[in-house]
Symmetry: C2
Subunit: 313 residues, 2 copies
């Protein structure tokens, strides 16, 4: 039986700090409905989709805590879960997690068409810093606001209606780290889903990388790692100008050949949809990237034995 | 002091099985001279540059042995070494190696402007098969003709005149394996050099991948892995139709941003030249890909603990 699945990237435009939570959630429900109208069975939302990208500010106390979800779902996100189940559609969504023990993670879950949580992931590659950069208008404080993910890269099976693909989740910066992709590749991943919030330029005035180059990097990371692990990939942005800080768009659906089959054209709320054939992963997995035939782990030790780079004398 | 270096990709057109060795070597000397005339200080030749890509045939005995070099240099390649030293130019070249112990490797060396060998590498990721495929017009018998490389991925320092860049070598199929790049990345590599012979299509009649897609893959592998390891990369083809078996071209020089700064336009002998600024690696190495700040090896264990893929239940 052909293993085909219709999938959507639900790119979100900017979410200003002052935007009420209910407004943002309404946009997400609307995107879900648009995707369902196009026949999508699985919708991928961005990282930290329910709010603005709050790690750009130095926050504390109640204001900071207001950005985290203490359960998933919970009353303030429930309408999204309810509407998805009504429509029989599944989704990936990124959110700020606070555990009962008081630990904080940059997390994502994938929910099946029946509302069951199929997989959970906590971001491993946190960018930014713990301490704020003095004199900067915007910060990148993920290392301050989140613990490093403690779940590794746990592949899981998608829903029956999706032909039970082996799935993996990443979040934003993770997608630039080939180690993360390979750990999923070694679990035979067929469909990678991931959301991101990526600066379109240095919000503090640097000029070495512009939005075009950063979008190229984002797309290339998805393309090449999909190719080298012979997997489909869906990579989804929160895009546009959030309170004066620009985010790239470029949400895309990428084939196991590393070819972009669909890509967002705006920096706003936008659905990008494609039918994917899960069996297209076989060409790569059975030939060029048949790991059992070609990998030589005895020469890869540095990857786990050292953290930083060590130059030869 | 600016760390600038002028570098050339010396793409080679096809080398037919019947072409005399001296003719091929003459073409290489000519490419070296063209590169020198353009100011190049380092020239990168393809994999197995001195002969046709012989693993496409089932060979044995003296005919097979004739493809290997029992020393490097040796009389039949000496003119290339002599001319390079006269011109004060260094080079990377791939060759079939036979050791005094009778072991065979798919190898490469980098030679400095003074003729000294600066680094040596033996291909780790051998594609193809040990046994010939019955009924096939062409074979891919690298696993039959070569041992797996036993040197790992040993970074080394380039010449003084090149500002002593940290260099790494790969050969052909290696460039598609992010583990190989990362092991060099963890040695702070600034300049990756590699040669390849890559089929333009399935020479036995398959139609799932054409030359355009395969060239895209080759270029993307260089671009993305250069970006993710913040290094310059030079990737050089033997191209064109060798005795009825097509090879892709697309030799390229890639920046640490993953941008192709120069690329071959033909499937023939062709020099592609660019001045590279080694300090351009700093943006990536100091920020996005500052490994010591961001890598989490505790979650990468599968990369060394297993060879093949293992799907979840």
């Amino acid at each position: 039986m052909p293993r085909k699945l219709r999938i959507a990237a639900a790119q979100m435009g900017p979410t200003q700090k002052a935007e009420p939570r209910a407004t943002t959630l309404g946009r997400m429900v609307s995107l879900l409905e648009q995707a369902a109208a196009q026949g999508a069975q699985l919708v991928v939302f961005p990282e930290l989709a329910f709010t603005t990208f709050f790690p750009r500010w130095l926050l504390s106390g109640e204001e900071l805590e207001s950005y985290y979800e203490t359960a998933m779902p919970n009353p303030q996100v429930q309408p999204l879960f309810d509407r998805a189940r009504e429509l029989g559609i599944g989704f990936y969504v990124g959110y700020a997690e606070k555990t009962p023990e008081g630990l904080h993670y940059n997390s994502a879950i994938t929910v099946g068409p029946d509302g069951a949580t199929l997989g959970k992931y906590r971001k491993v590659h946190l960018p930014g810093s713990v301490e704020p950069r003095e004199g900067s208008r915007f910060q990148q404080l993920e290392k301050r606001y989140f613990e490093y993910g403690d779940l590794g890269f746990p592949a899981f099976r998608g829903a029956e209606a999706w032909h039970r693909p082996v799935m993996g989740m990443l979040i934003c910066n993770d997608r630039r780290w080939p180690e993360a992709w390979r750990v999923y590749g070694l679990q035979d991943v067929e469909l990678m889903v991931m959301g991101y919030n990526s600066a379109a330029y240095d919000p503090n005035g640097g000029s070495t990388e512009d939005a075009k180059l950063r979008t190229f990097h984002s797309t290339m990371a998805a393309q090449s790692n999909a190719y080298m692990n012979a997997t489909w990939a869906v990579s989804v942005a929160k895009a546009g100008d959030e309170d004066g800080s620009g985010l790239i768009g470029g949400s895309c659906i990428v084939s196991p050949d590393g070819v972009v089959v669909a890509q967002a054209q705006t920096l706003a709320d936008e659905i990008v949809c494609a039918e994917i054939d899960l069996d297209a992963v076989r060409q790569g997995k059975d030939k060029m990237f048949h790991f059992a035939s070609h990998r030589r782990p005895e020469h890869y030790r540095r990857i786990v034995d050292q953290v930083g780079a060590q130059a030869p004398a």
